[in-house]
């Protein structure tokens, strides 16, 4: 029988080997494609903490993806136009430094997650889905009407932001940054899962009554998970915008929120590498089938249908013959 650790190791090895091979045969587009999968995986890893561990089906995680994107877009826009960004309390000239952009993206995402979480975690089930969707739409339409940063057209960044000691314009170097971040976050996620917090969060998903009767506060556990989750997806958003050197309201779209959920379900909810496998499948389908037909989502839908009907543990669950987290 195949065990989950083997699958995890294989997937990570594959994600590393493919761009290196592409580098050797000089196919930079493949590297960019894998980078895209890595970043989407990172965004879904963030959502998986809420969805897989906490059992909260957030249909608004594009909010954090978009915030990360706009954090990058706004900071880089002011840096490239030498204009001043007035934040009331202080002003800044923007920055092209990735680590600073990431910190800002995560801080703002975390703060917004705290506010959205406080309001939406009072509900559960369908109401939670709807309220998170509503927040997503609010941000989407706000971004569309935000003329200062391109409105519907978004913001283009001429040169990819910089990372000390690296040339981020070289695809393999930018890939390396994203891959290292993904590995770090996966490591943190695994620590989190096995920690007392992870145990308590998982218990609150399986039985809130149980958690309460041993003196735990399910609402507070979920809120903290929501904030951590938002920060990770926000970081992914900043990287995604940097990959494309472009940010637009589409990063806030509900389709994206839905796709992140689909990625997790395809890979396996609550699993360490579930979102990563899901993202790889998604990007592969998008690339290969997307080249043949505009309606490639039909095939994605068929795969999703098969997994939901025949294996609740996603691809990992089917390979290891174990069930995933019940959400």
């Amino acid at each position: 029988m195949i065990n989950e650790r083997m699958i995890n190791a294989l997937v990570l090895a594959g994600l590393l080997a493919l761009p290196l091979y592409a580098l050797a045969v000089d196919e930079p587009f493949t590297i960019t494609l894998v980078t895209r999968a890595v970043i989407l995986a990172l965004a879904a890893v963030g959502l998986n903490i809420v969805l897989g561990f906490g059992g909260m089906v957030s249909f608004g995680h594009a909010v954090f993806f978009g915030i990360g994107g706009y954090a990058m877009g706004i900071l880089a826009y002011h840096a490239q136009t030498y204009s001043t960004l007035d934040l009331g309390l202080f002003t800044t000239e923007g920055t092209k430094l990735m680590p600073v952009i990431w910190l800002v993206a995560m801080a703002v995402s975390g703060l917004v997650a705290l506010i959205i979480g406080l309001l939406s975690l009072r509900t559960s089930g369908v109401y939670f889905i709807m309220i998170t969707l509503a927040f997503g739409q609010m941000f989407f339409y706000f971004a569309i009407s935000w003329a200062e940063y391109g409105g519907e057209d978004g913001v283009s960044i001429y040169v990819r932001n910089s990372f000390p000691g690296l040339n981020t314009l070289v695809p393999i170097q930018f890939f390396a940054i994203c891959f290292v971040i993904l590995c770090l976050v996966l490591f943190l996620k695994e620590r989190l899962r096995a920690s007392p917090f992870g145990l308590a969060l998982n218990a609150a998903r399986q039985s809130a009554t149980r958690a309460e009767t041993v003196g735990l506060n399910p609402m507070r556990l979920r809120l903290v998970a929501f904030v951590i989750s938002g920060m990770i997806t926000g970081l992914a958003g900043a990287l995604f915008a940097d990959l494309n050197r472009f940010v637009s309201p589409s990063m806030f779209s509900w389709q994206l929120s839905g796709e992140l959920i689909v990625l997790i379900i395809i890979g396996g909810a609550g699993r360490l590498m579930g979102p990563v496998i899901g993202a790889c499948v998604f990007v592969a389908l998008e690339h290969f089938l997307g080249g043949l037909t505009d309606f490639w989502h039909v095939y994605l839908g068929l795969i999703l249908l098969g997994i939901v009907l025949f294996g609740r543990g996603g691809i990992i669950g089917m390979l290891t013959r174990t069930e995933g987290a019940h959400v």
Partner: protein
Amino acid sequence: MSDVVLSTHNLTKRFGALVATDDVSIDLRAGEVHAIIGPNGAGKSTLIQQICGGLKPDAGRVELVGRDVSSLTTQARAKAGLGRTFQISQLCMEDTVLENVLLGAIGAGGSPWRFWRGALGLTDMRERAQAALHRVGLADAADIRCANLSHGQRRQLEVAVALTLNPRAFVMDEPMAGLGADGSKQLTALLDGLRAEAPILLVEHDMDAVFALADRISVLVYGKVIATGTADDIRASDVVREAYLGTEA
């Protein structure tokens, strides 16, 4: 009385015109098993809910070790020392037996706000959890997934989780539910020993278990306590016989 651990005072709860809990004052003293019996719909579960914090009474109060806990949440009451078990098992089915008891130890004794260290590596919590498993006879099953446990083992695990809280009082809602004669006998023996650690407020339908365990029995009918006394008192009481036990008792 100084040895009263848990008590309700004039607890009243109405659902519309229905009085589910009618001026109920009962107490649980150190070292005893106090059983609450009554026909279906007598308001036993409603009463338990109010004691444990799931329902807010319309009037009256609940005291735990001399402290008014009426306004506390379920989780605060658990921390104050109320160890509850459920009629329908409330366990984490995807987790192992050890993880289930560990959750209790973490919730009551430690803190869930640790994100880095592994939960299974917390030696003090783990020892507390394993001691509870040992106490209920599940030490060998520690690594089994809860979903794979037998019904009887799940009932034992419920008790073990409550034990990890180091409770001042147990509140058990039909712990024998669904158990066969053997399982029921086994659990009765376990509860019999537990009363030394903390007194047990026991809601139960299994009359053999009730009469074997209870130091005192209160009979609840239509939300009202119609009699409280020893097993013999209750057996001899005409009121009770009429209202509940029928002619066979």
